[in-house]
């Protein structure tokens, strides 16, 4: 309880809210790392997942890779990359990309695979090209599941991005590592509270986006609620 009170006192101290290692700057770094990681991972994983879902080929292989990738400890990976790439953001970004990929891949291919074959077959039969089937039918219909993948990847990354501070001077993790080293537990818990708060806010935002996506895939639900009102 003392630590928690001390943490809030630490958070309330205005001197911690300014400068290069102040809370706002660390928060921005943390967000930047998270968004860069999720973007890179999405650019790689989503097209692959969508392709697998569309062609129904390779889901076994990817399932195995996803399972294996999930079991890799991110800290170990970070240490490995850090040894190879040195101090800086490259190693943590790379390790976090590996962390984010499985959820994104699984979301994309599971989402596309759930689109009923009759629907894609009919779309093909009336003259949509394969790309048009993907972009106009499969992606809109599976948008909630794909965004669900982005949501869980983001949450994993935003909480694990504290590890970036392990070998780089970046992110909210700095408070945890510095606090640990200097036995400044107020700072440590304060940093942890910041990470948790950030994760919760992102979760809320992404849940909202997922709800919006459901209106794209199931628009009739929207019109029925409108009628009821």
């Amino acid at each position: 309880m003392d630590y928690l009170l001390a943490a809030f006192a630490w958070l309330a101290d205005s001197s911690h809210w300014t400068g290069r290692s102040g809370i706002p700057n660390r928060l921005l770094q943390h967000l930047a790392v998270t968004s860069v990681v999720v973007s890179i991972a999405a650019v790689i994983a989503l097209p692959i997942g969508i392709l697998i879902g569309h062609t129904h080929r390779g889901s076994g292989v990817v399932g195995a890779i996803v399972g294996a990738a999930r079991s890799i400890p991110t800290l170990g990976l970070l240490t490995l990359f850090g040894l190879g790439l040195g101090i800086g953001l490259r190693a943590p970004i790379l390790a976090l990309v590996v962390l984010a990929m499985p959820s994104l891949l699984a979301g994309a291919y599971a989402g596309i695979e759930t689109v009923k074959p009759e629907v894609t077959d009919a779309a093909r039969a009336i003259g949509l090209s394969e790309w048009q089937i993907v972009s106009r039918v499969e992606i809109p219909l599976s948008a909630p599941v794909i965004i669900g993948g982005i949501r869980s990847a983001t949450l994993q990354v935003v909480s694990t991005a504290t590890l970036a501070a392990y070998i780089a001077d970046a992110g909210l993790g700095r408070f945890l590592f510095t606090g640990l080293k200097t036995r400044d537990y107020a700072q440590m818990v304060g940093g942890a509270i910041m990470v948790i708060t950030l994760a919760l806010i992102l979760e809320l935002i992404l849940a909202g986006i997922q709800r919006l996506a459901r209106r794209i895939s199931h628009p009739q639900l929207l019109t029925t609620t409108m009628k009821r009102n």
Binding site: V119, D121, A122, A125, I126, G127, V137, Q220, T223
Partner: protein, 268 residues
């Protein structure tokens, strides 16, 4: 004119759906392919718009091999209606109907204008245009499917058991409307069904298919009912049993009585 020239299709795994099938389908008629499930009738239909490629043989439309055409362009030039409409669940009725014209580059405004006319043509009120497929009845979805198939004004309409999922009364209505629509628009319609009654009701010509899409008999419904080529056809169209009517005099009038003993009409 659609022409099948010695078309065969063996699926990977060895199932021989179609064996050496040859047939000419004349323009501006309703041609029904009727056969039990697994007779290869859907396979034949889907060869016309290249949804399925034959293992051997050729399919010609107006003397042009469909294989020489780009499949996507070919499919856009042919109307396709399938069971339960095959509509896109996330698009409203209007957007479903205009899907093909939009793909062909027609502006949304123009397309929506003609879509409303199409909806009326298939017996739907234009205010249904903003509903989604899940908010329609099976019969309504089917009508939207027909409107969509007509939207790009194709000369050929392929219909794959389109009325299989609706109840018998609505099915009858849809069949009558299809006949009226065909009389008005003069499309070449290839219609696949396993329902002999439906075939007889709709067809200008029909082909009764046995296993491997072997043609047991082809001709007008009249000629097939009058002179079944063999036992298979006789059995399939049911001229032995349920389709036989007897005449009974009741109160000075001749009643036609069906196999179950119910009166189905009066002879004049």
């Amino acid at each position: 004119m659609i022409e099948f020239q010695r078309v065969s299709k063996t699926y990977p795994g060895g199932f021989e759906a179609v064996r050496e099938f040859s047939l000419v389908i004349p323009d501006r008629s309703i041609f029904v392919l009727v056969g039990s499930s697994g007779s290869g009738k859907t396979t034949l239909l889907r060869m016309v718009n290249r949804m399925i490629e034959p293992t051997s043989g050729r399919v010609l439309i107006d003397d042009e091999d469909v294989r020489d055409q780009d499949p996507v362009q070919l499919r856009r030039s042919i109307g396709y209606v399938l069971q339960d409409g095959g509509l896109m669940p996330h698009r409203n009725v209007l957007d479903n109907v205009v899907a093909v014209p939009i793909l062909n580059g027609v502006s949304r405004l123009v397309a929506h204008g003609s879509a409303k006319k199409l909806l009326e043509q298939v017996g739907l009120t234009p205010d249904l245009g903003h509903r989604y497929p899940a908010q329609l009845s099976g019969g309504q979805r089917q009508r939207v499917g027909v409107a969509r198939a007509l939207a790009a004004n194709p000369t050929i309409l392929l219909m794959d058991e389109p009325f299989g999922a609706v109840d018998p009364i609505v099915r009858r209505e849809l069949q009558d409307e299809l006949k009226a629509l065909q009389a008005e628009l003069g499309k070449t319609i290839v219609f696949v069904t396993h329902d002999v009654d439906e075939a007889v009701r709709l067809a200008d010509y029909m082909a009764v298919l046995a296993e491997h899409a072997i043609i047991a008999q082809v001709g007008s419904p009249q000629s097939i009912l009058a002179q079944p080529a063999d036992d298979f056809v006789r059995d399939f169209v049911g001229t032995d049993s349920q389709r036989v009517l007897t005449v009974r005099q009741v109160g000075g009038r001749d009643l036609a009585i069906d196999a179950t003993g119910r009166p189905v009409g009066v002879l004049s």
